[in-house]
């Protein structure tokens, strides 16, 4: 991999802090601020460590950065941000944005986002990104001054608007289809996982009820007492063990969530291409119709119905000078149109080329990450089974001594 920012700079989102302040509408609000720490990675001789720079950013600033990157690099699958609001929660998990566990997982997600951008061969070189990491004051103004919002195509905001593209690129169509499937299947998986987690929680916690009853029962038993009492203790351990297990599983869910949002980013690239293709076709269509108009005026034949043609029939032909003037204007427009079409075609080809390069990069990253995630899930399950075996082995011993 080329020398990306991630190799030159250590980036962490190390802390999260609750703040209150006035927002744009001068209303008091509570929000969380995140501390970004950066340190240059130099060949460190003994004891020498580069100084740490730090600044605070809130979630909305991260959003602004991502929007800027999406608009400025439409051919790149831009890494997603962690979710704004807690979604796919199982009942014990809080849906509250201020919940410390949620804030903690978001902190990790934001750090991950920055690392993804910093290790991307194209994105890491962006100046706005670099300033985000290093320039505390005035960054917002700087971003807005780039005028990226003007470049943003409002048509893309309508997520499901269809552009009737006559010659779609088969690869992009397939890719869009894939991103839809990925989104659908991962969100389904996350929903069911949350329900499974909820049920698993129930099974473990109910066992905790044994502890107290066994203890109370042991009070009236002479021989069975000790066995009951100690077995009850193990049941308490069993019931308590689920909290850590599910906490870890939440991290696995976050890995999947990242790719759920990545699917959205992938889709966005396809949509941008679709839009480009649509504009190209529209431009070509417009050019063709202008050429036709020109031809008709020159030869005097009317091939297509036009209101002008009708009115000129009704109200008499135009004068030769009028016709000449019209032809001249059209010829100018046609020349402009041809140049535009040429550049649009070039733009389109460049887009396709660079987009596919990034898509290939993304595919490799996705396959690697998801495989790792599945492996980590297996590791979690194995750990849970081992804990279960230990507890029930102990409990069995106590029961057999009753």
């Amino acid at each position: 991999m080329e020398d990306c920012l991630a190799k030159k700079m250590e980036i962490t989102v190390s802390e999260a802090e609750k703040r209150t302040g006035k927002n744009a509408m001068n209303i008091q609000e509570t929000y969380t601020a995140y501390l970004i720490e950066t340190r240059a990675v130099e060949s460190q001789s003994e004891g020498q460590c580069a100084p740490v720079d730090s600044l605070w950013r809130r979630y909305s600033e991260f959003e602004l950065l991502r929007n800027y990157l999406s608009v400025t690099y439409p051919h790149i699958v831009v890494p997603p941000l962690p979710e704004k609001r807690a979604d796919f929660v199982w009942h014990k998990l809080s849906a509250d944005n201020m919940d410390p566990d949620f804030v903690e997982r978001r902190r990790i997600g934001l750090e991950n986002f920055l690392l993804r951008v910093a290790s991307h061969p194209v994105l890491c070189q962006d100046k706005v990104f670099y300033s985000f990491l290093t320039q505390e004051g005035g960054w917002k103004d700087m971003v807005n001054e780039t005028g990226f919002q003007l470049k943003a195509d409002s048509r893309l905001k309508a997520l499901n608007a269809t552009f009737r593209v006559k010659n779609p690129d088969k690869r992009f169509t397939e890719l869009k289809h894939y991103s839809d499937e990925l989104q659908s299947v991962i969100s389904h998986l996350l929903r069911v996982r949350a329900r499974v987690a909820d049920r698993l929680y129930g099974v473990y916690k109910v066992h905790g009820n044994y502890g107290r009853v066994f203890s109370e029962w042991s009070a009236i038993e002479k021989e069975m007492g000790d066995g009951l009492q100690s077995a009850g203790h193990h049941m308490d351990v069993y019931a308590a063990s689920i909290d850590d297990i599910l906490e870890e599983e939440e991290h696995y869910a976050d890995l999947l969530k990242e790719y759920l949002f990545y699917a959205e980013a992938l889709r966005a690239v396809c949509r941008k291409h679709e839009l480009m293709q649509y504009d190209l076709e529209m431009a070509a269509q417009d050019l063709t119709s202008k050429k036709q108009q020109c031809e008709e005026l020159a030869t005097g034949t009317v091939r297509t119905f036009s209101l002008k043609g009708m009115t000129s029939k009704l109200f008499g032909q135009e004068t030769a000078e009028q016709r000449e003037a019209k032809i001249k204007i059209l010829e100018e427009q046609i020349q402009e149109g041809e140049e535009q079409l040429k550049s649009k075609n070039l733009e389109g080809r460049d887009f396709v080329k660079s987009a596919w390069a990034d898509i290939e990069r993304f595919k490799e990253q996705k396959n690697h990450d998801l495989k790792e995630a599945l492996i980590s899930y297996a590791v979690l399950q194995i750990s849970m089974c081992k804990k279960g075996i230990q507890v029930w082995t102990n409990a069995k011993e106590c029961f057999s001594k009753m």
Partner: protein, 393 residues
């Protein structure tokens, strides 16, 4: 250490055979001493104009002299078991008669004649008869013998004999009357302890029964969600190439764990739930036994009190009182011995049942562990293969 009082019941019709004294102590964990084996199986539905009912086949194999044959096969319905239980309670008011499954289950979604219900009942009826067969006193009860051996018409005619309804009612009235007076006043310390114990035990066993049902319910709901969880991974694998195998592997692991959960649930419902239920019933039975002992004591106490007021009829009363005193002593001894036996069996049952629960869970986790470990091994092998192939030019 044998005591004649144990073998004797107060039912005048009960013979005391020499062999019954020899076979006095029979513990359930010494099957070689058994000379009577009973099984309950083969439920069959019978439909008449009036009703539909189930009969069960009761097979008895025995080497005992007092049985004319060594093998018997009869069919009995639930009513017949109820009859047997009430006869045993009548004959041995202070012995612990094993519990019968309930008439019908109010809670749950089990229908009256569903296969599940019939099977649960069959197992309980089987246990009921076996517990009687293993009981040092009850096993020689005449009604028990008739239950095991008589043909249907013989049993019906035998049922019609015995103390009539009125005299049975009389007994009940007297029993109620003496219970009002208590019999608690002169209750020996030992039985007060038993009462206290039973109150707490009853409370705890009921709670345990509820906990066990909760656990079963939670496991079932977990199972239901897991059923949906695995297939999603398979569905996902259809859109992927590189990671399709890993996804299918995870799907297969989850499905296997799902099946293991089903087994774990079955273990609960076959073992822990029935046993806890039985002991819930037992706790009611034992409270009843303790009450009846108090009633017998109460009869004696009230007679003694009456004597204190009527000094003239002292001689007449003293004979009656003597009999009552014997009755109380027999009742107390019978109960004490049966209580010790019951406690031992209870400890044994609880130990084996909960150990079984633990083993069940161990098996579950070990199965799941093996599944995931083999998946993990397959994934890391792939990684190594990939790495190797990358190294090669």
């Amino acid at each position: 250490d044998t005591s004649l009082a144990e073998v004797n019941s107060f039912s005048p019709s009960m013979p005391i055979s020499p062999s019954s004294m020899i076979n006095q102590y029979k513990f359930e964990d010494e099957p070689e001493l058994r000379d009577l084996f009973v099984t309950v199986d083969d439920p069959e539905s019978h439909i008449t104009a009036i009703e539909t009912f189930i009969t069960y086949r009761v097979v008895t194999k025995t080497s005992r002299g007092e049985f004319d044959s060594s093998e018997y096969e009869v069919r009995r319905r639930y009513q017949d078991f109820l009859w047997l239980k009430s006869k045993l309670e009548e004959a041995h008011p202070t012995l612990i008669i094993p519990p019968l499954p309930e008439k019908f289950i109010m809670k749950g979604m089990v229908e009256r004649f569903s296969d599940e219900f019939i099977e649960t009942r069959r197992k309980a009826l089987h246990k009921f008869l076996n517990r009687i067969a293993d009981h040092p006193t009850l096993t020689f009860n005449e009604d028990f013998k008739i239950f095991l051996t008589a043909q249907a018409w013989e049993l019906s005619s035998h049922k019609k004999q015995g103390p009539g309804l009125l005299s049975r009612m009389g007994q009940t009235v007297r029993a109620v009357a003496s219970s009002v007076r208590g019999g608690v006043k002169n209750r020996p310390e030992m039985f007060t302890e038993m009462n206290d114990y039973m109150e707490t035990f009853s409370q705890k066993i009921n709670i345990l029964d509820k906990i066990a049902h909760r656990i079963y319910k939670e496991e079932r709901e977990y199972f239901n969600e897991m059923k949906e969880y695995g297939p999603i991974h398979t569905l996902w694998s259809a859109s992927e190439e590189d990671i399709a195998d890993s996804l299918k592997g995870v799907a297969s692991c989850i499905d296997k764990c799902c099946k293991a959960t089903e087994k774990r649930m079955a273990g609960l419902s076959e073992n822990l739930l029935p046993i806890l239920h039985e002991y819930v019933l037992y706790s009611e039975i034992l409270m009843g036994v303790l009450k009846r002992r108090d009633q017998i004591q109460g009869e004696l106490d009230s007679k003694v009190d009456a004597l204190a007021n009527k000094k003239t009829e002292k001689e007449l009363f003293s004979e009656e009182i003597g009999k009552l005193e014997d009755k109380v002593e027999c009742a107390n001894n019978a109960l004490k011995a049966d209580w010790d036996r019951w406690k031992q069996n209870m400890q044994c049952d609880m130990r084996s049942t909960f150990t079984n629960v633990a083993e069940n869970n161990l098996r579950y986790y070990e199965e799941c562990l093996a599944t995931w470990e083999s998946f993990l091994a397959s994934q890391t092998v792939d990684l190594h293969v990939e790495e190797d192939s990358e190294d090669r030019p």
